[in-house]
Amino acid sequence: MLIPCPHCGIRPVEEFTFLGDARPVRPASNDPATMDQWFDYVYLRDNPKGRFDEYVHHSGGCRAWLVVTRDTETHEVFGAVTARDWAGKRKGRRA
């Protein structure tokens, strides 16, 4: 797997550390009434076969957090953006 780091260019998978699904959104509230949302956020995963957005740390390179879009069935990598850009875009989408 080769990942196109926005800062470093194309680099091989051994330079990266994977965190997992970038889709779940952290609940804004700590209110015990939001327990279901927290449970969903912490424990439940869509675990899709196919296109997948995931948090990846370029631990062996620029040390930036990225969101990589990849196919979990073929390992084809479609692209990568910085986690900051991803968060910005997501905020834009929700607004």
């Binding site: 470093c8 260019g9 680099r11 091989p12 330079e15 390179g61 620029c62």
Partner: protein, 191 residues
């Protein structure tokens, strides 16, 4: 009368490769050595990380630091290198200049820089890094953060056939063993 603040203790910079990088000619011994290694020591090294919204201001300020080399070290992050400076001098100068714009940290004891030069330098590095070292992709002055033999390395092309490898001191010996072994087939000189 206020007591005079105690002077900051000064520790001499000790190269982690002092007992390891022995000078001489090694490996293949016909013709000129293909690679030359030199531990750049002592060297003043800083890490500078720009604060939010200050990237342009920090880049400008660093350009005005006299007698230094500034290397890209990640988004909004730099290594600043200088030779022949007193212990802590570069740090104090940069800190005074950038205090409100960036975090500055002293790395002179924490890292060591190995200069790899020669006609076969690129061949040796290519055995360890996935970075494309072709001059079109990696011109003089360009830096990359990468890994060699599992060790995190900051790599800079300093001339057509010369590179600086900056590595944490704790990993330096391990990297040294690995990289000199890779150079054996070409013959190498340690200066």
């Amino acid at each position: 009368m206020k007591a005079k603040p105690a002077a900051e203790p000064v520790f001499p910079r000790v190269s982690p490769l002092a007992d390891v990088a022995l000078q001489g000619r090694f490996g293949a011994d016909r013709g000129a050595p293909g690679v030359e290694f030199r531990v750049r020591h002592p060297l003043s090294i800083l890490t500078v990380i720009a604060r939010k919204g200050q990237s342009a201001a920090v880049a400008d300020a660093l350009a005005s630091l006299k007698g230094t080399t500034v290397q890209w070290a990640g988004p909004d992050q730099y290594f600043v290198l200088a030779e022949g400076r007193g212990e802590g001098a570069l740090y104090r100068e940069a800190k005074a200049m950038l205090d409100d714009k960036a975090s500055v940290s002293e790395q002179s004891h924490g890292r060591v820089v190995i200069r790899v030069a020669g006609a076969k330098a690129r061949n040796v590095l290519a055995k360890g890094t996935p970075v494309d070292l072709h001059p079109d992709a990696f011109p003089v002055g360009m830096s990359a953060m990468t890994q060699m033999a599992h060790v995190g390395v900051h790599l800079t092309r300093v001339a057509e056939d010369a590179y600086d490898l900056s590595v944490f001191r704790g990993f330096a010996e391990s990297l040294w063993e690995w990289i000199t072994e890779q150079a054996e087939e070409f013959g190498y000189q340690v200066k």
